[in-house]
Symmetry: D2
Subunit: 178 residues, 4 copies
């Protein structure tokens, strides 16, 4: 009983989240943080650097769940602040039309996207960021890459689960796929 | 116990669905069925006609949940077949980029969209349909309207929960908002 | 002869422009200037106020031609600065995918858009503006409207040539059509 | 004088076209012809095969000018019929929102797109084609490639002027970039 009262309404306890993950697609948002010049053109893409418990380096986009009764915009802002810190000054787009919808399946090969934990459906946005980024949580660093570097094999191989594909979809949408 | 074994894995029992609805955003797809001419221009919009238990007439878009381990494309096809019958010949777009994302909140006023049962987040698509539509399930009829008629106050007032707004967003996207 | 030498290469003399207008579609850009809140949601739309030689009031979006060897981004910036002044701080989107393409025909009724002077094809963008707007050129003022006001009959009737339709398409795209 | 009277109004004589090309951006449409499965997913991409006067093989998308007083939809249909024949059964999308705008400059390096003849601005669309394609005009053949093949270095190197980039932008938009 005490368990129930400790759960913030609208949030799932970890056991319930496990249960839901086995039964329903989970709604995610993903943001590709970019630096833009005065004309709005993307000059750099920001990727989070993480080191796994096995020492493996990986690079990731900003990503996370949408909570119950949370707007997509607010979920984007919350995850951007969680991953980039409080002074990143992200500019969430005026339109909620995502540049793509990424479907992560627990089974590999259904789509280019794979998440062993769950079936996640992710609304993906390009988000210009003009402030100072100070990664928090489990990220070691945020590294800025040119569009060319970001789509290179070297960077792509460090992005598991299909996020490398999603990144190149973002670059294509922004007109800077090389 | 027999209840549990009867549940298809990946589907929620009705009790579990109630629980999930109180805790997580539920992923939906919505389709605006349209007739197009040879140049692809929208000539008519199809709306489902329903009569509630209280006798109230309402008009609706094709709409429904995405199931666990189901692709967005397959959810669209399933709901189109469920609502329009097996020979409607819908053409799901080549790109999954929706024309908008509609956020239905159980609380009114957060967005133009409202669903008293749940927090639903809906990916919305315009779907040209060239075959014969035979509404099934709980719909009485599918009625085709010109874009002008579809955005008229007369039709709009019969579309609850903000679907009238979503319909006009679709017309705007297709270039036939009047 | 001196006329010819005075023409900047890539620019059309007024006579040549008349000739081209009678023979080719002319490429335009249009920007819907908006104020957004911290979450990126549109709170206000800016419309230019003009008074015609006949005293008629009209309201307009930012609009103008793309010049030879000019990028779409640079044309947007140039017209935004021309119409809103040098400290408007417009944020041209990271992607050049317009929310719509508006086709203005010299003949009425082909599309909702009409321009008696020419066949113009316009790439339309929503552009958040955070600075101080000081209309220049032939505009008297820039007036900010809420999305509700902007789509009202009162404002719509002051927008000739179909720009009222384009404005509502922008509001629909931004999720604030009412 | 007889030259002038022979010119269809709204069409440019070849001399005038040369003049216009030196002075204004020329509006183009480009179509990526695709085969889709029942769920709308792209299975193949069609590329025109051409052999230049120097014997060089090149592959191209469907592409061409928009004429005076011609709708974008009609220009798409005209060029699709010109390049794929009369029974290709193309399905021009319901919305004119292009997946991207490609800017071809006569100067290399301004954008990924280059056209030595002119400054062309091209509205690009993915067009599902369900009929029989019989290339006409100057194309030898239309060859269907899987998305993997289409984005391979082998195919990309045969696509001059940046059309290989545009093709990969289309694949990214359709969710089948590999």
């Amino acid at each position: 009983m005490s368990d129930i009262t400790q759960i913030t309404p609208g949030w799932l306890g970890s056991e319930e989240l496990e249960l839901a993950r086995a039964r329903m697609p989970i709604l995610y948002v993903e943001a590709v943080p970019v630096r833009v010049d005065d004309s709005g053109e993307v000059t750099h893409v920001g990727l989070l650097l993480r080191i796994g418990s096995d020492g493996a380096v990986s690079r990731a986009l900003v990503s996370g769940r949408v909570l119950h009764h949370e707007r997509v915009r607010d979920a984007l802002l919350r995850h951007l602040e969680k991953d980039l810190g409080p002074v990143a000054l992200p500019r969430v787009p005026a339109s909620l039309q995502p540049f793509t919808v990424a479907e992560y399946f627990p089974t590999q090969g259904v789509t280019p996207f794979h998440d062993p934990r769950q079936h996640a459906v992710s609304l993906a946005y390009i988000v210009p960021v003009s402030g100072d980024c100070r990664p928090r949580q489990d990220a070691l660093d945020l590294v800025w890459f040119s569009p060319e570097e970001a789509s290179s094999a070297l960077v792509q191989q460090d992005m598991p689960g299909g996020q490398g594909v999603l990144l190149r979809q973002a670059l294509a949408h922004a007109g800077c796929l090389t």
